[in-house]
Each structure stands twice: as structure tokens, then as C-alpha cells.
């Protein structure tokens, strides 16, 4: 399924896509193609990419390449898949009731959840907000625990 979506491995590619996506939500998935949760997540993304194509763009970032480690460190990505949302080169935060608002950790349960999240981010961003409330009901939000180490 992930052959439908663009996979980025180099830093320039990521920079370019963040810069060049104008007035559209940019969804970057950080993960590995082999991991099964990532596969599930990728399938949902691939199915909905055409539906949200008018206001969103989806890309996959392969977390195993060296150039991407900079970003992994910057965004503090530890669990895969992690999805980060951008709007006009600005990092959008999502308050889904979890500990980390900067990203979405885990796979979406249904296609509609993903579309709702993207729409919420779009609406919030168009209004000028920097953080939006997550419209997904809490039972469908993947739960995880952050262990703080050396902080």
C-alpha cells in the first residue's frame, strides 16, 4: 500500500516538501515500512489520500536513513509510527488527551478518524490557531506512556 505514497529519505526532500506545501496540511509519517503497526497506518493513509487531496498532502519518512535522524531527534520521535502535521511550514499541535501534543503516535483505527483530524487541523490553521482539539473519541486514540530518561 505504501507504494502509492511518496517515501522520503533525504533531508533536502523533507525540507523541500515542507517548504513547497502551501495552504495544505502536510502529513509526515515517521516510521518503518516493515513494522506492522506502520503498515496498518500506511494503509489508512493511502486509502484517504485521494479524499483529502484538495487540502492535504501525505508523505512517508523512512526513519532508518541517516539524514532523517536529525529530524527524529528534533521532534523527539521514539515510537513508530509517529505522524507530524504541518501547515504552511508551521508545526501544528494536536491536543488528543495524551502526553505529547506535538505528534500523533500510533495508527488510526478508521479512515474517517484520519480525515477528521486533518480537517480539524486545517480549520484551526486557517483561523490562525497553533494547537487544535482532536475530534477523535478517546477510545480510538492509541494510548502510550512516555518514560522520561535523563531529563
Amino acid at each position: 500500500m505504501s507504494y502509492l505514497l511518496k517515501t522520503l529519505t533525504k533531508k533536502e526532500e523533507i525540507d523541500r516538501i515542507i517548504r513547497d506545501t502551501i495552504d495544505e496540511v502536510l502529513v509526515l509519517r515517521f516510521g518503518r515500512c516493515s513494522d506492522d503497526v506502520c503498515l496498518q497506518h500506511d494503509e489508512i493513509l493511502a486509502k484517504s489520500v485521494r479524499d483529502v487531496s484538495k487540502f492535504a498532502k501525505v508523505a512517508l519518512v523512512d526513519v532508518d536513513s541517516e539524514e532523517v535522524q536529525v529530524y527524529v531527534k528534533y521532534f523527539d520521535i521514539t515510537l513508530f509510527p509517529s505522524t507530524i502535521f504541518f501547515f504552511n511550514a508551521h508545526h501544528m499541535k494536536l491536543d488528543s488527551g495524551t502526553a505529547d501534543h506535538t505528534k500523533w503516535v500510533g495508527a488510526f483505527h478508521i479512515k474517517q478518524d484520519f480525515i477528521d483530524v486533518v480537517e480539524a487541523i486545517y480549520r484551526g490553521a486557517m483561523k490562525g490557531k497553533l494547537i487544535v482539539q482532536c475530534p477523535v473519541p478517546p477510545e480510538r486514540i492509541p494510548k502510550y506512556q512516555l518514560l522520561y530518561k535523563d531529563v
Partner: protein
Amino acid sequence: MATLEDSFYADLDELSDNEAELDARTEEEDNIDMEDLETLNLDDLSRVSKLQETHRYADIMHKLEKALGKDSDGGAEMGTVLEDKLIVDCNQLSADIENEIVIVHNFIRDKYRLKYPELESLVHDPIDYARVVKKIANETDITLVDMEGLLQPATVIAVSVTALTTKGKPLPDSILRKTLDACDHAIVLDSARKKVLEFVESKMGSIAPNLAAIVGSAVAAKLMGTAGGLSALANMPACNVLVLGHNRKNRVGFSTAMSQSRAGYLEQTEIFQSTPPELRMRASRLLASKSTLAARVDATRGDPSGTNGKALREEIRKNIDKWQEPPPARQPKPLHVPYSVPKKRRGGRRLRKMKERYQVTDMRKLANRMAFGTPEESSLGDGLGIGYGMLGQAGSNRLRVSSKLKVNAKVAKKRQFTGGSTTSGLMTSSLAFTLVQGIELCNPQALGLVSGIQSTYFSESGTFSKLKKI
């Protein structure tokens, strides 16, 4: 055909009981026309098939030979009117030869029925039938007859098997000889027809190769013949070329709803025949336009090789295929950009009146304001309770505070005693009310506040609006 119509009329006249008259009439008609179908009963082939004896046939065949001979010598006459006429004559002749072959086939069939009646239904093609009859002749043992090259293997087997159980008997010699002669005759006619068609086709290649590439040489020859030459055909607009050869069969009284296509000779082209019926109108128009273009190219000798014609033919094929393509599959539409349309705000008197019900009322507005310098009244008196503001002031003439708003006098009195007051039993207030005193009501009429029905109903100067005589 005039003779056919005549024969129909004659049939109508024949509706009489006089049998002798009938016989005489039929005999007469037999002797007149060679193509009359009633000659089948006759025994003689020469009576039936007269084409080869006509002048026309001989003349054309002679010309054909001459032309073919000329061609082989290397000198080809192109574009002369005589050649065009010859081609047209050749086409007509080929049609006549076809009819002739059908007549001869019927003749052979009638004769051979005695020997092998089932052969007629197994072998349909007249020429093949004639060849098979010639091969079998009077043979009773079908296994000795070798029909390999004449028919399809399946048909050969069918013929052999049916021959084993046939009801026929061998023919007498005289009839057999006549039958075999007829078979030879049919084969000769067929070869003559082939020659004619060959000639036309070959000539078409040198006269009008592009036109022939699109519509085929036979139709091209017909078109040229009807138009009166290649240059005449080239000068015609395409809409005229479309109807060349169209015979109007609109008999009086018949409906025109079923007259479908206006295409004439173009109906006989391979392209037209191979298109589905729904697209035939469009295809005929396309064919007419492209063949006109080809005719113009040929008239000016622009492309002797005929590649232009082939290209046009390909174009036509491609167009027709495109028309038959199913529409592209519908893909699911992407969702709209989330943009909440701002609500349409309406205005107007009605909306204003509706809003008034929920807005701050005039009474409340007045109660909220206070006069300067004068202490306001309140429900419990002396600054306690809800203040009334401008409500009920002496100056304002609109709203009055009803007595119900005032607290029970007993309570007020109690307050008065507990609060400490002046020596008089009453509290001085600008309203100055007592137990017995009610509230002064103003006369709204005097102030001109009443309007409408009220004023006229209670009016002192008003008159009766409705008088009813008892």
C-alpha cells in the same frame, strides 16, 4: 421494373374463372422477357439463360479484352470518358451476370432433384453446387467421388453421409447431359463476372486509387458513374456524394418514419456495413466527407500511390472506434476543502420585531437609568430592594408602576417602624401614597396615547358603526 408491375396488374386481371384465358395469358408473358421467373418450367437452358447471347454482353466483353490487352502493352489510358463509361457498364453487367447465375442455379437444382434432392440444402452457393453436381454426375457410389478441393471438409462428410440415404434415382442420359451443360454454363458465367470485377478493380487502381482505398473499387466505380466522371465527383460537395445512388422509394401513402439512412452507394461499403446500426448515420457522413477529399486528390492526380486514401481510411476507422468507446470509469471525488460558509445574516422589519422580544425592554431601560439629584424609588423603599430608576417618575408619562410592584403596606409599615422615621405615620416620598390612596392613573386619552380601535370604540364623539333595523 415495368414488366414486373405489368405482370402484377395482369395477375389482378386474371381473377376470373376462365381458365383458358389464364393459360393464354401466361404463355404470352413467357415469350416476352428472358428474366421472367416463370420460365423455370421449360426444359431448355437456352430459353432460360439468354444473357450470353445479348449484344451488350458481347460488346462489353470485347471491350474488356481490348482494354486488358492495352494494359499489358504498357499504355494505360487514364481519365477518359470512354473508360469511365466502360467501367460503369462493367458494373451493371456484373449485376446482370449475378442474376443470370441465380436462374441457372435454379435450373440445375430442378433437374438434379431427381437424383439427389438433399444436396440443395447442404450446398448453398450456386457455383459450388454446380461444381459438386459436375463432380458427382450420375455416380451412385459417393465414396468414389473426391470432393476435397471443392467444399469444406465438414460439408464433404455431410454430403457423403446424406448421399448414402438419399431418396433419389439416377438420371436419364438426356437430362444428365442438360444438367452438366448448365453447370458448365454457370461456371463460365462466374468466371466472366470475376473478370469484369478484376478489370474494374485494376482500372480503379490507376484512375482513383485513394477513393478506392476508402470505399472499395466497386462502390467507387458506381459513384464515378453516377456523378459522370471523376472530376464531376470531385467538384461535388460531400453532402451530395452522400446521397449518390439513393433511390427514393417513398411510395405514396407509406410512412416516412422507417426511411432511416440517406446514404446511397456508400451503404454498400465495407466500413458502413461493419459499423453498428446506431452509428451508421454518423459513419455515412464521415465516409462521404473523406471520400470526397480522396476524390479531389485523385482528380488532381496528387497521390498516385493511394497512401492518402489508406491514411483517410485509418482515420475513419479510428473515429468509429472512438465513438464506440465506453465512457471512462468514475473515480471517487476528493472531499471539498473545509471552509465553513459564513451565515447569511438577514435584516428587515420582521427580524427586528422578532428580536425586540428578546432585547432589553423599554421598561428595563428606564429602570436602569436614574435621574440626577433625586433619589430613586425602590421596591422595599428607602434604597432597599430593586431600584426603579426613571420608572414612575413624575415627569415621564408613559409607564406607571402598578400597585402590585409595591410591597405589602403592612411590611412597609413594619420597615418604617424598625428603620426609624419621621413623626408622621407615613413616609414622605415623592409618590406620597397612603393606605387608602391608590395610584393615580393618568388619562391616556388626554395624552393622546391611545390609537386605533380603542379610540373609536370608547370614543365619546364616535358614532354607531353599524345600525341594524329591528
